[in-house]
Structures are given as C-alpha cells and as structure tokens.
C-alpha cells in the first residue's frame, strides 16, 4: 500500500555546497540519498514530494561538514501481511511484482484445480482451460508474509482464497 508520510534524516553537507544554493543542494542530495531505498519499517521510498523543515546546521568537530536535520514528505510503498493487492506475474513459480515489491506464490497456495504446464510459455491452467496464469497476467493476491533484508522487502502471497486469482477486468485492456 502506498502512504504519504513525513520522515526525518540527518544530512551531511560538504562546505563546497554552502552559499546561495545551499538549500537546493541539500534537497538534491536528499533525493539522491533516499529515493529508491528501502527499510523494514517504512518500506520503499518511492519519491520525495516536499521538504517540511530544515533545522539549524551543526558543524561537526574536526571535519567542517555540517549536519542538517531535514524533515521531508515522501511517498512510500509498504506491503503488509494480510493485505490484498493486484500484481503482475513476472515468472513461473510463480513470481509477481507490485510496484517495487516482489511476491512469490508457491504451488501450495495456488488452487488445486490449477496445474502447471511447462513449455515455451509456461503457465498455470485450470483443468477446463478457462483460467490461465502466465507471464504478464494480472492477478489479485493476498500477502501472507513479508521478509526484510538490507535493501528490500520480499513477500509471500496466496491466491487460494475467495475473490483472489486472475483479474478478468474488461476495462483493463
């Protein structure tokens, strides 16, 4: 799920950036440092949307660098266990992507009447052939677990519950 939240960060700036463009430099460095990162607590930082506050700079002993506490607004993507969302299938297994997050749906969590068919375009199909899941299919799944490592969040999902599975929305053509 996407959220719009306020985060805080201590930015260190080299004196070469002081002067008229100090604030612009600070903001540019903030965006470069923070956009695209991921934490277990806040999820992926997708985009910085604004600066709420820049505190007084503190000169660090011995180096001349100055530390500014910066409060900024940003859009984050944070998946939750129990959350239901839509994703695109990327690979059989199957793996799906919802924005920056990868989700794995194991065989056990795919309805029993769907069988794996290998071949050029490997896919999962129901016995009557009416429903097919393959690369680039859009599916609705429920996240049942999340794992966080240093740089990303990885999810496990299921399509075994009611109202989950391939999305057959005629509007989404």
């Amino acid at each position: 799920m996407f959220f719009h939240i306020v985060l805080e960060r201590n930015m260190q700036l080299h004196p070469r950036y002081f002067g008229r463009n100090l604030r612009d430099n600070l903001v540019a460095k903030l965006m470069k440092d923070v956009e695209g990162t991921c934490s277990g607590r806040h999820g992926f930082v997708v985009a910085v949307t604004g600066i709420e506050n820049v505190g007084k700079g503190l000169i660090r002993d011995g180096t001349g660098f100055v530390t500014f506490p910066v409060k900024y607004q940003c859009v984050v993507f944070r998946p939750f266990k129990g959350e239901i969302l839509e994703a695109v299938v990327t690979m059989m297994g199957f793996f799906a992507e919802a924005g920056p997050v990868q989700i794995f749906v194991s065989n056990h969590l795919i309805p029993d009447d769907m069988e794996f068919q290998s071949g050029d375009m490997p896919n999962y199909t129901t016995s009557d052939g009416s429903v097919k899941i393959q690369k680039d299919s859009e599916v609705r799944l429920k996240i049942i677990g999340t794992r966080v490592d240093a740089t990303e969040i990885f999810c496990i999902g299921t399509i075994k519950d009611d109202f989950l599975g391939v999305i057959n929305d005629p509007v989404a053509i």
Partner: protein
C-alpha cells in the same frame, strides 16, 4: 522482527504510525508520480536517468492498476469513501480493488465488518454503487 509479529492488515493491525498516516490509492499515486516525472523532464534532457528503479517500477504499476484516470474522478472517489467512516487504509484498498459485491468487499477488507463501527451490508452496498457510478461517468 520486533512487534511486527501481530501485523495483519485484515484486522487493520498495521501499526500506529501507518494507521494515522495518509494512505494513497494507486490513482492518486499516479498523479503525484507523473507530475514529478514531468517536472524532471522540464529540468533535464534525460529524466529516466534521474529516477530510481523503485520510482520507475512504481510509476508503471500505478499507471497499470489505476481504476480511475481522471483527477476529478479520483477526488470524487475519496469524497464518497470518506463519508463511510472508514480507516484510511480500508478506504484505499476499496478504491484500488473496486469490489463489485458486498461479499467481495468484505473479503477484500474484512476489518469493515469486524471493527467497532462496523458497517452494515446496506451501507456497503450503497458505497459500492456510488463508486461504480463514478467509473461509468468518468
């Protein structure tokens, strides 16, 4: 994982920080990210180089999975859902998934029936009807 063991979106157990935070529907995120991308296009020749992979993937995702494209429709969706005393998170899941029946809505957001100010089926049905009207006239 500290304190995240009981995390469960189906029961709206997403932590205080996120319960109180502003939640965004895919269509709203789409407007924000596209705007940012346009700003980058104006100030540089190669905007694609300036954005992170996370940004790119998120932009592609929200463009693909936005139910409402028109900014006015997006605003209306939020206005309508806001009338039903839903938590931000619940509101956004409904706005993203657009369930068609009351049964589906409850399956998508179980907490609308389990929390203190539980919605009755009639209210949920009315809400879904209002949402589908917006889509028709978008």
């Amino acid at each position: 994982m500290s304190g995240e063991e009981e995390e469960n979106a189906a029961e709206l157990k997403i932590g205080d920080e996120f319960l109180k935070a502003k939640c965004l529907m895919n269509c709203e995120v789409s407007l924000i990210l596209e705007h940012k991308y346009e700003q980058l296009q104006q100030s540089s020749d190669d905007p694609m180089n300036q954005v992170s992979q996370v940004f790119e993937k998120s932009l592609q995702y929200v463009k693909r999975f936005s139910r409402y494209k028109n900014p006015d429709a997006v605003r209306q969706v939020r206005e309508i859902l806001a009338r039903y005393q839903l938590a931000e998170f619940e509101l956004c899941v409904l706005g993203n998934l657009c369930p068609e029946t009351v049964e589906e809505a409850i399956a998508m957001v179980p907490s609308i029936k389990t929390r203190g100010r539980a919605q009755d089926d009639e209210a949920i049905e009315k809400m879904l009807n209002d949402l589908s009207l917006i889509k028709k006239f978008e």
